[in-house]
């Protein structure tokens, strides 16, 4: 019950005259994370907005790419480092393909932030377990760096990251930093090794044997492909994690981001406004196709 009371429903809407009108934002840097993922560093053209733009880890924005419409993209930077926002995007369809061709100096459109963020307040004082697969590390990168920037408020941190191939490992800069920090266990694994790979091999759930966690003191944040989420949630339930302290994110096709278009309707909830962050306790009450 704790989560449902404490994660407040968050519908963020700055009072623009038009719900659907984006704000221009310039690309200042493009970081190539792997062959499929790029991180775009963006600054709003409107300097006042750029300074005042506030968001929380786990929220997303609707990103406009000229002539290609909009897509929901989760923010991968932390609000503790203001001045720009990072959007990490994997090439998937038409819009993201066009986006990947864009360079610094070009302008995109952003409206938001939208959605319910990670419940950072109920994580305070607890150990944290982050489990990510592929691009799923993008929203978790935001909350991991947020927790790191607020030193002393959280217990031990364990980060597990799974990729398909060693060459698919994204966010290497962040993983390198996290691996060297005291109080953090950061393990990566790949489904299929390539020549020269000396690390773990196997899906991310094979890493349980390599870590020390105490489920009663720990909050788990899980983000990745549906199949990974399904198996990680199953294992965490088996380890007697409280369903209120297992937090995950759901992904659905979205058009408006503000709870109107109906595309992300899922088990009586809207992923855009009721989520995208849900606790396992909440998901149990919903009828979710991919977790059946």
């Amino acid at each position: 019950m704790i989560n449902r009371d404490l994660i407040t429903r968050n519908i963020n809407s700055r009072n623009t005259s038009n719900t659907y009108l984006p704000h221009p934002a310039v690309i200042t840097e493009v970081i190539t994370e792997n062959s499929q993922i790029k991180t775009f560093v963006l600054e709003f053209t409107d300097k006042t907005l750029n300074t005042n733009f506030s968001y929380e880890s786990g929220q997303f924005v609707m990103l406009s790419v000229p002539h290609h419409g909009e897509a929901p993209i989760s923010i991968s930077s932390t609000p503790t480092r203001p001045g720009n926002i990072h959007l990490s995007v994997r090439i998937a369809g038409r819009l993201t393909t066009a986006l990947h061709k864009m360079e610094p100096g070009m302008t995109l459109g952003i409206r938001g932030p939208y959605g319910r963020p990670f419940p950072v307040h109920i994580m305070e004082g607890r150990d944290l377990l982050f489990v990510a697969g592929g691009i799923g590390l993008a929203p978790l990168r935001s909350v991991i760096n947020y927790c790191l920037d607020r030193t002393g408020r959280y217990g031990t941190m364990t980060i597990l990251y799974g990729s398909r191939l060693p060459s698919d490992i994204a966010f290497r800069q962040d993983l390198d930093i996290w691996s060297t920090l005291p109080g953090i266990t950061c393990l990566t694994t790949v489904d299929t090794p390539e020549p020269g790979w000396t690390g773990h091999v196997g899906v991310v759930t094979t890493l349980w044997d390599h870590i020390q966690i105490s489920p009663s003191d720990c909050t788990a944040l899980v983000c990745g492909p549906p199949m990974m989420i399904k198996f990680v949630l199953r294992d965490l339930a088996g380890m007697s994690f409280s369903p209120d302290f297992v937090i995950t994110t759901m992904e659905r096709h979205m058009k408006c981001g503000v709870g109107l278009c109906g595309h992300c309707y899922m088990g009586g909830k809207l992923v855009c406004t009721d989520g995208p962050v849900f606790s396992m306790a909440e998901l149990k009450d919903m009828d979710i196709e991919e977790l059946r």
Binding site: I11, S13, S17, N18, T19, Y20, L21, P22, P24, V26, S64, P66, H67, H68, G69, E70, A71, A92, G93, R94, L95, T96, G105, M106, T107, L108, G109, P226, E251, R252, H253, K255, C256, V258, G259, L260, C261, G262, H263, Y265, G268, D287, E289, E290
Partner: protein
Amino acid sequence: MNEKFILRKDHLTGFLRKLSKGHRLVAPVRNRYGDLMFQVIDSLETTDLDLSEQAQESPKAFFLPQEEVLFSYEASGGIYDFRPINNSEQTVYFGLRSCDISAILYMDVIFLRSPRDDHYMKKRKDSILISIGCNTPGENCFCNATRTGPFLEYGFDLQFTDLGDRFFVESGRARGDEIFSEWPQFFHPVTEEDVRLQYQLALEAKAGFRRQIHVEPAFSKLRDDAVDTAVWREMASRCDGCGGCAYICPTCTCFTIFDRMESTETGKRIRAWDSCTHAGFTRMAGGHNPVDMKIDALRRRFMHKLYYDYSAFRRPSCVGCGRCVDMCFGGVDIVKFIDIVCAGTRKRTRDSRRILGDLLLEAGLISRTDLEKALSRQADTGEALGKILMDLGLVTCAEILGVLSLENM
């Protein structure tokens, strides 16, 4: 509010002409193909209004157009500019039915929550809603079951009742009262006889429904997850995903958003109707679709309209207009769905012992001796027949569920 007047029928055109000065007038008109549609009326002299029956389409498209420009943009080099567009006009809607008004009230709940939809809000603010109660409900109508008609207590600016040679007109909002006081020359005081006649007509209309649709029992079945998978499968196999039900439905408001490029540097962002039965509705970039379109899409459709919205707003997002019944050529409309779902309930609750026993007998899963043995034990213990048969090892749980689901079809 709740003022009442009489408007003579031969004064209707004059009244509408005055009222629509400076406004657009939208009312039902029969076109040359014989279709009764809401349309913009340019001249009351050359156009005949037709109030004889419910219009084929609801006025949804005037509030949420099938295609609407949200804004225009310019994108060149480092520039990406967005320009808002206003596409609302002051409009008088005349001849709406109770279901149409109820559907607009539902759209208000969706679009005027936080964050509100500015395009919808502007159109709503610019609207005057005048409805006419239904003295004779249509063939497929069931607004009695959804409590959205045939006459309304609120929601309209003015509500008309056809009393033969005159209309009984009542106001439901301050805007309606303003109309009465602005054009007093058209409105005469009501007599006791008028009030009695209106009351009687509204009462008779309630008895005039040809369909009995069990909306609330369907809600209970969906809440209890008691709709058999076989029902969903059957419905899904009959659905061709054309989206007609959603387009014709006055409360289906799901939409998609896309860009329409007009030159290499300019374009418009468009919002257009979408339907949850379309294959691409939940498909994500790259082609992954978390929802099995054949079954889950229909399940979500009916769960949304009859259960989730009922839980959230204490009323289903079906206004009983019956339009989808004529629209769906596969017979997967909401009326058929409710009928199938509730048919199972009635059969089972009427006499479940006899039915389950007979079904198992028919299926050749038990013999008559087995059944009699089980029934006599039931007379002693009062246990459920299915449990007794399972305890005796005569049938398995799967076999019982199997025959029951066949029976539900």
